[in-house]
């Protein structure tokens, strides 16, 4: 299978401390949550504004738990790894594509993700027909050009998969703890209830004008 590429204008991400027990509940049994501190897992929220893909342009919100990566033999070292437990997109075509190709679990209605960049800050507002899902604010540090490798794990029981994903583009990150998160009562956020998700990110990551490249899916 050829590489699958998605061009994006924005990929805005933030990592939050959450209860390790809740993180464990959100992922399959064969994976373990990465602990940022003893007893604390990591909730990773990523919002994409895709401008080019096989299924056109669309917006996407990915809710994930950070896990340890699978270290390959003779390969590039991943920067981090995650299990997306819920993905929301703005078009049906993008959902069907991601379910068929990557086995990603989706919220099956259209959502919208609005991005507002101002004075080195990025505000993300995700909603479903006006019903709020998540509000996120992050800020920038220094910008560099990168091409980072990440790993995503998915399942289609009993099968288990891993996708190697390269994220190339302008990148900034920091841990100044200046961002914020508001989780609204929406079905997409149900796994985050009683999960003690922090209201501020311990790490803020933000990419611009880049390309996300999926390697062919591997069966584990």
């Amino acid at each position: 299978m050829p590489l699958t590429k998605y061009g994006f204008k924005y990929a805005v991400s933030a990592f939050f401390e959450m209860s390790r027990d809740a993180a464990k509940r959100a992922i399959p049994a064969h994976l373990e949550p990465m602990e940022v501190k003893h007893s604390l897992g990591v909730f990773a929220l990523t919002a994409f504004d895709f401008t080019q893909s096989e299924v056109g342009s669309y917006e996407e919100l990915v809710l994930a738990v950070i896990t340890p990566p699978v270290l390959g033999v003779g390969g590039e070292f991943p920067r981090s790894a995650f299990f997306p437990f819920c993905v929301g997109t703005s078009t049906e075509a993008s959902r069907l594509h991601a379910i068929e190709r990557w086995h990603l679990p989706h919220y099956m209605s259209d959502i919208r993700v609005n991005f507002e960049e101002k004075d080195g800050k990025m505000t993300v507002h995700a909603h479903e027909k006006g019903r709020p899902i998540i509000d996120l604010e992050v800020s920038s540090h220094k910008w560099t050009k990168v091409n980072h490798l990440y790993q995503a794990f998915t399942v289609e029981p009993p099968q288990r998969f891993k996708a190697d994903i390269h994220m190339a583009g302008d990148f900034t990150e920091h841990e100044e703890e200046t961002g914020s998160l508001e989780i609204h009562p929406h079905p997409m956020c149900e796994p985050l209830l009683n999960a003690d998700v922090a209201s501020f990110p311990f790490r803020e990551l933000w990419m611009k004008d880049g390309v996300q490249t999926f390697q062919p899916l591997q069966t584990l």
Partner: protein, 456 residues
């Protein structure tokens, strides 16, 4: 043995140009072996990437880590743990580990020896006498044959200094924190600690099997939230001085929250005991809250210039911990030489309060010199002063330049602090001269300017 002969550096060390750095060694991976990340990625990875391994053999992680470290080391990791070839006075000689070059007469802003006691002739003589009388080792657990008259005397002296009923001495600060916390707290209990708590506190919590919650740094309102809904046994642990930022615990508000929520309080005074407060008892005394704290922890490796840790508190607490602090029970007691030196160092810290006065004069002088020169020193309120770089990719280069320009200090980067919260850490001591501090401030400002890190 070093791979190259030692070279004596000039008394005014000159910065090593980057071009003099050897090219990183590369290893060719065989088909069956994991390989290191691309050279450009060496700076993008760090220790945290190698915590988890995968595969069937726990040793599978060793080759990738080894390959990465080969590339990362010359880029700056070599700066950690460089051997000193002199006593940790205000001027030192260091064997630089990249070229194995001896750098001489550096201004030492890295050692914890806050009152300069580790090399006081009286302390050295006391250590010598203790070794002559008791030998080099204690030869047993403190609960069996390892306790000497000197150990008893040290515990008595520390309890007296801290104005507490009793004291227990451990072989290291790390083992003291682990022993106290795991000795007292149990599964089903709750421990709440500051998000910046030292690793020894976190490891004690893990060993105790108690539930843990972290409150936002120095934020009493968040501490209150974390304590509120728990009905069992609660312990709150804070540090007097936080070792990476040099700021103090917000103790008045924290004590009030703890008392309102029925939680016991433990304070880690590793960087503040024998320094803060009218009598030098620590930050708790500084805030007039000494009697409100239930457990007083401290170390001997910082201000007293020795080694070990202690807990001071009520007679009943110490008697209980003597039986249940496993790191106390199952470790050999401190060497009599160390204990002999510590008794004398404690005596000097008590009898010479002018040493503390000099430390604070020096601290305030260096802080103001650095601020005048537009160096970002964060929110330091103590002798621990961070020089904020906030750039993980460049902090090693700045530290390297500092050392080759004549100032020895330690770089700190992720994961010891948050990403891009990298800094150089300064420890001021009473033994620095005003000339040392003026010279250091000038060098620091010059190097920071050269790398574009001065605040404008």
């Amino acid at each position: 043995m070093p791979s190259k002969p030692l070279r004596e550096g000039a008394s005014d060390p000159v910065r090593t140009p980057d071009s003099a750095l050897p090219a990183p060694e590369t290893k060719t991976a065989g088909d069956a072996k994991p390989v290191a990340p691309a050279p450009s990625a060496a700076n993008d990875l760090d220790y945290s990437n190698f915590f988890w391994g995968s595969g069937k053999d726990p040793f599978d992680i060793l080759d990738p880590f080894d390959d990465w470290f080969d590339e990362a080391r010359p880029q700056g990791y070599y700066l950690f743990g460089q051997p000193m070839s002199s006593t940790p006075k205000s001027r030192i000689d260091v064997v630089e580990q990249l070229h194995h070059e001896k750098l001489k007469n550096l201004i030492n802003l890295a050692s914890y020896n806050y009152l300069g006691l580790s090399y006081r002739p009286e302390v050295i003589e006391a250590a010598r006498e203790a070794i002559l009388k008791f030998g080099t080792g204690s030869s047993g657990s403190p609960i069996l044959s390892g306790t000497t008259e000197l150990h008893d005397e040290l515990q008595h002296r520390i309890a007296e200094f801290k104005d507490k009923e009793s004291c227990l001495v451990f072989p290291s600060g790390y083992s003291a924190n682990v022993g106290i916390i795991a000795g007292l707290m149990r599964s089903g209990d709750l421990i709440v600690t500051d998000q910046f708590a030292h690793a020894s506190i976190v490891d004690g919590i893990i060993l105790s099997k108690a539930q843990v919650r972290y409150f936002r740094h120095n934020n009493a309102a968040d501490l209150d939230r974390k304590l509120k809904d728990f009905n069992g046994r609660k312990l709150v642990i804070v540090e007097g001085v936080y070792s990476m930022d040099g700021d103090l615990a917000n103790l008045p508000e924290i004590v009030e929250v703890c008392q309102r929520n029925g939680a016991r309080i433990m304070i880690d005074e590793a960087h503040s005991a024998f320094l803060f407060g009218k009598n030098g008892r620590g930050v708790a005394e500084h805030f007039g809250l000494d009697d409100q704290i239930d457990i007083h922890f401290g170390t001997f490796s910082k201000t007293l210039g020795g080694q070990g840790g202690y807990v001071a508190g009520s007679r009943k607490l110490i008697r209980y911990l003597k039986g249940f602090a496993r790191s106390y029970v199952f470790s050999c007691a401190l060497s009599p030489g160390v204990v002999g030196g510590l008794i004398k160092a404690c005596e000097i810290a008590h009898d010479e309060p002018q040493l503390r006065d000099r430390l604070w004069e020096n601290t305030h002088l260096l802080q103001s010199l650095l601020r005048e020169r537009n160096v970002d020193i964060g929110d330091s309120k103590s002798q621990v002063i961070p020089i904020m770089i906030r750039d993980d990719d460049r902090v090693f280069k700045v530290a390297e330049d500092m050392i080759h320009s004549g100032v020895y200090l330690n770089p700190v980067r992720y994961p010891a602090v948050g990403k891009h919260r990298s800094r150089l850490r300064i420890s001021v001591t009473a033994s620095h001269t005003k000339e040392d501090l003026h010279a250091a401030a000038d060098i620091i400002a010059r190097v920071m300017d050269r790398h574009g890190f001065l605040c404008r």
